[in-house]
């Protein structure tokens, strides 16, 4: 067998692919968002649901000791059950940001008119991309971030009485 450039390319490509597969096998493929706790949020920027020109950025998060980020949608019925706890939290020492996940603007507004608006700021996420960056895989989900942008809590599913108490304890 004569050695030629095309043969060298073919063989190196195959060896390269096999090394990649070999490495890939050793990797842990389980997707787990629990790892998010303790991580710092980066590249944070949201566009206001009502006003396209208004933005919220990392700087706004730094101003508060704690910020609660809640992912919600009008079509999500468990979001209704946690809404009362968010309302109760809205007059406490915590800033609440809502991220409206894959929703129609008009539906989101009537949802809040019906149940009350606990949010200091509502960011829109029409196609769900921002939520994916936060490691969200279903809504409702809630994050609590401190002033140095570190995620300190993450709740998957609607907030209930126990979690509400936990949050109160944290911010006192």
């Amino acid at each position: 067998m004569k050695i030629s450039i095309s043969k060298i390319i073919i063989f190196s490509f195959i060896i390269f692919s096999f090394l990649i597969f070999w490495q890939g096998l050793k990797k842990n493929n389980d997707y787990d968002t629990k790892n998010l706790i303790g991580n710092k949020i980066s590249n944070f920027q949201l566009i206001d649901l009502n006003n396209e020109k208004k933005l919220i950025t990392e700087e706004d998060l730094r101003k508060n000791e704690y910020t609660l980020i809640n992912f919600f949608a009008s079509w999500c019925s468990p979001c209704r059950t946690e809404h009362e706890y968010l309302l109760k939290l809205s007059n406490k020492k915590i800033r609440i940001i809502g991220i409206n996940f894959k929703d129609k603007k008009s539906n989101a507004i009537s949802f809040l008119e019906e149940l009350g608006n606990p949010y200091d700021f509502i960011g829109k996420d029409k196609n769900g991309k921002i939520s994916v960056l936060f490691g969200i895989y279903g809504i409702p989900e809630t994050l609590i971030v401190d002033s140095s942008l570190i995620v300190i809590k993450k709740y998957i599913g609607p907030i209930d009485q126990n979690q509400y108490d936990e949050i109160l304890k944290l911010i006192q």
């Binding site: 067998m1 043969k7 073919i10 063989f11 195959i14 692919s17 096999f18 990649i20 597969f21 070999w22 490495q23 890939g24 096998l25 050793k26 990797k27 493929n29 997707y31 079509w75 019925s77 468990p78 209704r80 059950t81 599913g157 609607p158």
Partner: protein, 628 residues
């Protein structure tokens, strides 16, 4: 007890494999024209013992013999008999035994049915096939033994994953295995062809039937998998560009290219090296697909079978296969000179091959790129429908055009000029497309082009059918059926894609939802008990607002006890013109149910046209058999 019998049989098969390789290498040196009777016997014993070992496992499943770990992990006494049997191949270890069965059975059949061909070629094929068999036997015994026993014997099994308890899925693996593992025989034959120098027309004839058989089963297996996904997964789609679906498409593209270029090799005695490459590629891609799916390197609906230690073994064996194939190929390769006239049938068949390879590479990149990126940079991305749709769908237009005109050219060089006919038929297709868009409503430019191309293909095929009826060249029939099936498939997928309705909302019992064309009334729910599950069945009254036709649909939420799992069963009303599709899922901690309602036009026709593609292949096999 069954454990010992099973392992004993597998070890016997292993010994017979070594003996076959040894006897075949001895026989290569003798001057006799025919293969020794002893080799036939060895191969026959090997086949018998392999089948027996598989039956041993089936018996263990039927009797719920939980002394076998495999039965304990994948079966349960309360399961219906049919699913107990299907459970045999519904798991990694059992399906590997089925894999080996097909390797061995094909090895024997190829030896017996190809008696007219060169002795050296057949012996080498047998040797290479047995090397493959040995590789998978060692894998089975060392890593994935379905006959491993467990002590103390558990009283009850863990049960089979409920979403696998479905008739379509019970036959899906055996079909795919005949299709994908069947490719092994012409992998071995291609290796043998290179080593023994038995090439050209005769080689094409020796593998033709095997290529067609495995093509038919691959196609059918993929369709059945798609039907299962539609009925069982409850997403309302039939193709998701899921990694496993993609893994099954890779060898399918290669084998479809092979089936076409094999005709050129047979008729014109050229393209030998290319046919060899496709033979090797088809099986290598089958094993690669198995590796990607079974090792857990990809996440998808088939992750029931993931385990990294398996991955390492398959990967090493794959590396061995690819390297030996490449080294033999390069050391025996002889340059061929191709002289094809542009206006000849072989040129168009080659065009088919270029398209197939383009599709193959697209899907391969879509599958491998995320893995490469993840390993090299830790960035996780997912390549989904948008990528495949953008890259593949526009190419379908020229593909359909070439598919229509190609078969009308004759071999070597066509004398007649088809230009007027083509122009006339294009005008016809544009006209019909205008009528359709008038009837259904407007659609995008790309859809217009696709419909025109598909109709252009239909018009050509109608002329072909006319010609076929006059001339009675029956070997044109399979081609007409398959190509018509493909054209119809593209056509109906296009219509389905353009005019599907989808609504997603939450309802409580007693509530009514109105959409543009339907009123959906959630009347009540009832709870029923079945042998191995409990079901919550919703009662929905659907009123078509256009003609006031009322229909009742009952989607289910099933709670399986062993293993404890929730599954959502879609309620589907199939009619000739459209499918109504309704799923319901419970929303935790509330009275609401999430309802997904879809109206999908011509769904049944998508299945029918896909099945036509396969039917063409089977027709060819039947015609061929009658000819002999």
């Amino acid at each position: 007890m069954l454990s010992n019998i099973g392992i004993g049989l597998v070890v016997l098969v292993l010994i017979l494999s070594f003996l076959t390789i040894y006897a075949a290498s001895l026989d290569l040196k003798t001057s006799s024209q025919s293969i020794q009777r002893g080799i036939y016997k060895l191969s026959l014993y090997q086949t018998t013992f392999t089948i027996l070992s598989f039956f041993t496992l089936i018996i263990a499943f039927i009797n719920s013999d939980f002394s076998l770990i495999n039965v304990y992990e994948n079966s349960h006494t309360s399961k219906p008999l049919f699913y107990k049997i299907a459970g045999t191949w519904g798991n990694h270890e059992g399906s590997l035994l089925l894999w080996i069965n097909i390797l061995v059975i094909f090895s024997y059949l190829f030896l017996v049915f190809n008696h007219k061909h060169n002795k050296k070629f057949r012996l080498y094929t047998l040797i290479f096939q047995n090397i493959l068999i040995l590789g998978f036997l060692f894998f089975l015994l060392l890593n994935s033994n379905p006959f491993n026993s467990i002590y103390p014997i558990p009283r009850e099994g863990l049960g089979l994953n409920p979403i696998l308890q479905d008739p379509a899925l019970a036959i899906h693996p055996p079909l795919l295995y005949v299709g994908f593992v069947g490719c092994s025989i012409y992998f071995s034959a291609a290796m043998a062809s290179m080593v023994s120098g038995y090439g050209g027309k005769l080689f094409a004839q020796s593998i033709k039937a095997w290529v067609q058989i495995s093509w038919c089963f691959q196609t059918l297996g993929i369709i059945v998998g798609s039907i299962w996904a539609y009925y069982e997964l409850g997403w309302g789609g039939f193709w998701f560009w899921d990694p496993v679906e993609n893994a099954s498409l890779l060898p399918w593209f290669a084998i479809t290219a092979l089936m076409h270029s094999l005709i050129v090799l047979e008729k014109r005695n050229t393209l030998h090296a290319w046919v060899i490459i496709l033979c090797l590629l088809t099986f290598i891609l089958s094993v690669t697909g198995t590796f990607l799916v079974r090792s857990g390197i990809l996440n998808s609906v088939h992750t029931f079978a993931s385990d990294p230690s398996r991955g390492i073994y398959i990967l090493l064996f794959l590396l061995f296969m690819v390297f030996s194939a490449l080294i033999i190929f390069f050391s025996t390769y002889q340059k061929e000179v191709y002289k094809f006239n542009l206006k000849s049938r072989e040129t168009f068949i080659l065009a088919n091959n270029w398209f197939m390879i383009f599709f193959l590479i697209t899907v391969l990149i879509g599958m491998l790129y995320p893995i490469f990126l993840d390993v090299l940079t830790d960035i996780k991305i997912s390549v989904g429908p948008p990528f495949f749709n953008i890259v593949i769908i526009p190419l379908v237009v020229p593909f359909l055009f070439l598919m229509a005109i190609g078969p009308n050219f004759s071999w070597i060089k066509s004398r007649n000029n088809n230009a007027y006919k083509i122009l006339f038929l294009i005008l016809g297709a544009v006209g019909i497309n205008l009528l359709i868009s008038n009837f259904f409503g407007k659609y995008s430019l790309l859809s217009n082009l696709i419909f025109i191309a598909a109709i252009f293909l239909f018009l050509h095929l109608f002329l072909d059918i006319k010609k076929f009826i006059n001339k009675k060249n029956r070997f044109e029939l399979p081609r007409i059926i398959s190509h018509l099936g493909f054209g119809l498939l593209v056509f109906f997928i296009g219509i389905n894609h353009q005019f599907s309705l989808e609504e997603d909302f939450n309802l409580k019992v007693g509530e009514i939802k109105k959409t543009n064309s339907y009123e959906i009334n959630f009347e009540d729910i009832k709870i029923t008990k079945s042998k191995n599950y409990k079901a919550i069945i919703g009662n929905f009254k659907l009123t078509n607002l256009k003609n006031n036709v009322v229909q009742y649909l009952g989607p289910e939420i099933r709670i399986y006890s062993n293993p404890e799992t929730l599954t959502y069963e879609a309620a589907i009303k199939t009619k000739i013109t459209s499918d109504l599709y309704l799923t319901m899922s419970n929303v935790s901690r509330s009275d609401y149910y999430n309802i997904k309602f879809q109206n999908k036009p011509f769904m049944i026709w998508i299945w029918i046209s896909a099945l036509m593609i396969t039917l063409g292949g089977f027709t060819r096999l039947i015609l061929k058999k009658n000819e002999n």
